[in-house]
């Protein structure tokens, strides 16, 4: 058996490794490895308690967030969007606000010190508004 003039087993490893680095480098350059979809971050009293990639939600679900005093918010998650559906606070501003899905959007429940916000990588909000003066 004649050995290949060009491809010795040892060389193949080097070629393979170089090829992988090349492909990875290209992918990183193209930004193809970044996270996709909107990520919702939920914080209470300034501490992050949950992080949900809304782009990876298949089935809608709900969960409850409670603080030490027993105040609560029930949050519903659907593919690509998130909202508060029930809350113990009196004014229900968070519930009335409805769904959020776009970059930088947030829902705040002041009495319970709860913040849900969408991270910057998400697509822009559909209404084309950057903020609201209230």
């Amino acid at each position: 058996m004649t050995r290949s003039r060009y491809f010795r087993p040892g060389d193949l490893i080097i070629y393979g490794a170089l090829l992988i680095i090349f492909v990875m480098g290209t992918l990183i350059a193209a930004g193809g490895l970044g996270e996709e979809g909107a990520v919702a971050v939920i914080t209470q009293d300034g501490k992050e308690i949950r992080r949900i990639n809304l782009g990876q939600v298949d089935e809608p679900y709900e969960f409850q967030v409670e603080n030490e005093e027993g105040d609560y918010n029930i949050i519903r998650v659907e593919p690509g969007r998130i909202r508060v559906i029930e809350a113990s606070c009196p004014d229900k501003v968070d519930v009335k606000q409805g769904w959020i899905s776009g970059a930088h959007q947030s829902i705040v429940c002041l009495p319970n010190r709860l913040v849900i916000r969408i991270e910057a990588d998400a697509p822009d909000a559909q209404d084309g508004i950057d903020g609201i003066a209230f």
């Binding site: 070629y15 606000q97 609201i132």
Partner: protein
């Protein structure tokens, strides 16, 4: 044979180097970072085209201002001044002194309708706390007697403040967020930030335009609908928009709504026929104080005051859904949400 290997290695190596070079030097997509936190008794959103470190510095500035000017936070300048009401002079920070001075100027401008010594009435009503109540008339009369901006003594050279009567109290709630917005904006500009959006509990401040160069699009809250519904959208750069209205903090008792903007003359929530007042000004402290002032003054006196001000535009909405604009806004605001109509 060996030569071939060397050539292949060089060729592939070149591609690898090129790919890595591209990955490392590729201009980053515009990096906008933001966060929303509960501070100053409200929600604070800061969105900047800049670094994480700058964002943290901005929030820290808010924290500092809250620690100086909160009425309820033990150890704040305002807490100390109020504790000493009727007694000693209290030395305060330059920031606090400036805000008190500005508030007193607006008190004079509005003939005392905008009054930073409103604390006794605010505490009596408890609107925005978990336990609001309709006070009896006697208690209202007594609290009213303690509200008077002319009984605030200032000693500018030593930055000292004194309330001349026991039971008096300062409350910078109608102006503090405006000052905080101006202060954070200054900090951001000093750090080279050219694009930013601040939303301090509904007080909006924008630096520059958006990262893509287009103006910021800011909605004005529909005073009759849920949070997030807008009457119109303004396209703005380097300015601040502050809206005051009775819909933000209130409680309902016996079918009647009692809101948080109290009239120091009546001792009751202001009832002037206005549903909201939005002020657009590069100075957020001006916009903040003016929005409350105009709301308290009502439509005609409010518009008259606005005429006198420079660098200020405004949009007033009445309870019957008429929209009044100052001249500088008329070119900009062309459409309104359904149910609203322009005066004229």
């Amino acid at each position: 044979m060996r030569q071939r290997t060397v050539i292949w290695t060089i060729v592939i190596g070149f591609f690898v180097a090129a790919a890595l070079g591209l990955a490392l030097t590729r201009p980053r997509a515009p990096e906008t970072i933001s966060d929303t936190r509960v501070m100053m008794d409200t929600s604070i959103e800061i969105r900047i085209f800049g670094s994480k470190r700058t964002l943290e510095a901005a929030f820290k500035r808010i924290q500092e201002i809250d620690e100086l000017m909160s009425r309820t936070r033990k150890g704040s300048d305002i807490y100390k001044v109020n504790q000493q009401a009727g007694g000693e002079w209290v030395k305060v920070s330059a920031d606090t002194f400036h805000v008190i001075e500005t508030a007193l100027r607006f008190a004079e401008t509005t003939g005392g309708l905008f009054d930073p010594t409103i604390t006794p009435l605010v505490e009596l009503w408890g609107i925005g706390t978990g336990n609001p109540q309709i006070p009896d008339q006697e208690a209202i009369e007594q609290a009213k007697g303690l509200v008077d901006y002319r009984r605030v003594d200032l000693a500018p050279s030593s930055r000292r403040v004194r309330l001349t009567q026991p039971g008096m109290g300062l409350d910078l709630g109608a102006i503090g967020k405006g000052y905080a917005a101006d202060s954070v904006a200054q900090l951001l500009r000093e750090r080279g930030v050219e694009s930013a959006l601040l939303n301090l509990g509904g007080n909006v401040y924008v630096i520059g335009g958006k990262p893509d160069g287009t103006p910021w699009r800011i909605g004005i809250q529909d005073p009759f609908s849920d949070r997030g519904t807008h009457v119109t959208i303004l396209e703005v750069r380097d300015t601040s928009i502050v809206t005051s209205g009775p819909y933000e903090r209130f409680f309902i008792r016996n079918g009647k709504r009692y809101h948080h903007i109290l009239n120091p003359e009546t001792g009751y929530p202001a009832d002037t026929g206005l549903a909201s007042v939005s002020i657009i000004s590069p100075s957020s402290i001006t916009a903040d104080a003016l929005s409350t002032s105009v709301f308290l003054l009502g439509l005609e006196k409010g518009l008259a005051l606005l005429e006198e001000m420079e660098d200020v535009e405004a949009m007033l909405i009445t309870n019957d859904r008429k929209v009044y604009l100052t001249s500088g806004l008329k070119q900009q605001v062309k459409s309104l949400a359904k149910g609203f109509e322009f005066h004229d």
